[in-house]
């Protein structure tokens, strides 16, 4: 934005002049690059996904010229069935980023500040600024864990990533219930982008707590990052708020291919579970190997790990890996600027990472 003059800025809404947008991980197009920086799944989605896209092309002459179902009913049905909830308890959006944006608008514009950890998904402060939401960041403890006692103070809502990112550490459902019980008049959002890699989902608490919203995505565990489908599960009175917001913003956010492909994914539970198991197994192996190399790795329930090495600077390691064609994510932020966030690849990819560290760097 450096080329924009003060005079040209007069056209902008005043509040937009102050925005500090989110910066996603890089998506470069370099040959033989090993991308361990944006927590994508190393495996393709269920083969039924490609078949579903082919079916859209083959069977529906009207697949492209007609608007999609604005309610994405087929997708909500597939999610409801897989998650064992009622269809009125399902909201869908253009990636969980859009679902989260609608959640912030629907529930968090309150007089009191919302609460979230100081170290968590860095889009939360961005949404908050976008909607003019007050925030209070709660420091993780010295082990980078969330202490749920901290979420019992007056607030306008709570959002917790579970497992947390980029720390990878998960809370148990008993701890989440403490937060829910402490905030009977405020919405508590559990952002479960990474839950399928070993943590417990709070979806099973939805019928019990009228203030719970659980957000998930198909981008990680279902290998559909390229398609943009996220969803929320909550009691229907909260889903209604999300629908009111969505229908005041964009009537048809999910296209016909995305609906069909995501439906196919939710209908292939066996493939989904098998791929998640493979990622979990690879994670445990990688943690062992990095520990042997002297890394300290936080206990991960995600498809990534958060690792630090007492003898090597994290920013420098990131740069050295990059020179060897391996991208990891580095956050130049207080408390975590000596950590690398490393996405779990296939065993072969993880071996390339470990070998590169051994041979070229450490």
């Amino acid at each position: 934005m450096s080329n924009i003059t003060i005079e040209q800025m007069r056209f902008w809404s005043p509040e937009v002049r102050e925005l500090e947008p989110y910066v996603p991980g890089e998506q470069p197009k370099i040959q033989n690059l090993l991308k361990l920086n944006t927590n994508e799944n190393p495996y393709p989605p269920s083969p039924k996904v490609e078949a579903a896209v082919q079916a859209v092309l083959a069977n529906q002459a009207d697949a492209l010229r007609l608007y999609p179902d604005p309610d994405a009913t087929a997708l909500k049905q597939a999610i409801a069935k897989q998650q064992n909830v009622d269809i009125t308890q399902v909201f869908v959006g253009n990636g969980s980023d859009e679902v989260l944006a609608h959640i912030f608008k629907a529930f968090f514009i309150q007089k009191e500040p919302i609460l979230y950890p100081d170290i968590t998904y860095s889009f939360y402060p961005v949404y908050s600024q976008f909607f003019g939401i007050h925030t209070q960041q709660i420091p993780l403890n010295e082990n980078f864990e969330i202490d749920v006692v901290d979420y019992k103070q007056v607030n306008g809502g709570v959002i917790i990533t579970n497992p947390n990112a980029p720390t990878s550490i998960a809370l148990g459902l008993d701890q989440i219930e403490q937060v829910l019980q402490a905030n009977p008049n405020r919405v508590v959002v559990i952002d479960e982008a990474y839950v399928d890699f070993g943590a417990e989902t709070a979806v099973q608490l939805v019928d019990k707590y009228e203030n719970l919203v659980v957000c998930q995505t198909t981008s990680k565990s279902r290998s559909l990052a390229g398609l943009r489908v996220g969803f929320a599960i909550a009691q229907s009175h909260l889903i209604a708020a999300l629908e009111a917001v969505k229908n005041s913003f964009n009537s048809y956010p999910i296209d016909r291919f995305a609906i069909a492909a995501a439906v196919a994914s939710f209908e292939d539970q066996a493939y989904f579970e098998a791929q998640c198991e493979k990622v979990i197994d690879s994670r445990e192996k990688l943690i062992s190997e990095l520990t042997v190399l002297g890394f300290q790795v936080l206990p991960s329930k995600a498809n990534f790990i958060f690792a630090t090495h007492p003898k090597y600077d994290a920013a420098q390691l990131t740069q050295q890996l990059r020179e060897q064609g391996i991208l990891v994510r580095y956050f130049n932020k207080p408390r975590i600027n000596q950590f690398l966030r490393i996405t779990i690849g296939t065993d072969e990819q993880n071996k390339r990472l470990v070998d590169t560290l051994k041979t070229h760097i450490l």
Copy 2:
């Protein structure tokens, strides 16, 4: 929302409790239904679009598991080339509805009210409420035309649909220039969802006016409603505001299939022009035939017409057509509650409409 109790409403952001969402035209799944109610194109998109989707599936093992390019650079390049502008002058979003939402946030949150016609796209008041934007609706004249003199008063911005919807009437560029010149410190948005069916595009004015934003969609003239791709053209300092907003809301709004398909559409200019010509020809024929039946039809530059019959009630006609399997759009609003908005179909579809009116209704 009737099932939600006051007590449950305590979870909602107070401002969200007041929202009145947009209601899109119906998308029912009825056999042999003739859908002339949501201004879709009766023809499929370029065959190159399907080929592009197949290429994504066939050539990219990583098509689905990896995030799309957050900037959709390939799509911006294709649009820039087709529209003869620089890539820095292009913004893309998840349908023009999302592009418009970002436009309202980026430019229209000002102290003064934005101006738009009393009869126009009914999403504008919805966006305005969503973002807390003050509005002033300017009545169309007695011929349902926009009088540009009315847009020379103090305002926080102007948005004009051209051709207007649901009236179908177009403004000339000389009139649009009057609005641009009268508002040198405010953004003037020309929403050109229907421009390709016979009106003049304001894109050619972008280099001349630093306050102009032109919004278009692939949903109508490019037969890609099922895919959700809209775009805006403006000088780069205005595009930067839209990017700041977009990147504070959703990093990756356009999926890999949509990017590839829309690129293919923009690269097939000959097909695009031929299909638009067919719709225009069919429109002129349909207007003649409806006029013979006693309808009064406003002069259309769109892929729909706005028609009234002095002897028949419009709501009743809508219902009678529905009983015969033909959907048209009816707006129960002041000034236009005796009009039908009828999407232009193929000649065969239009004949079914005319025959049905003759045989069963009039």
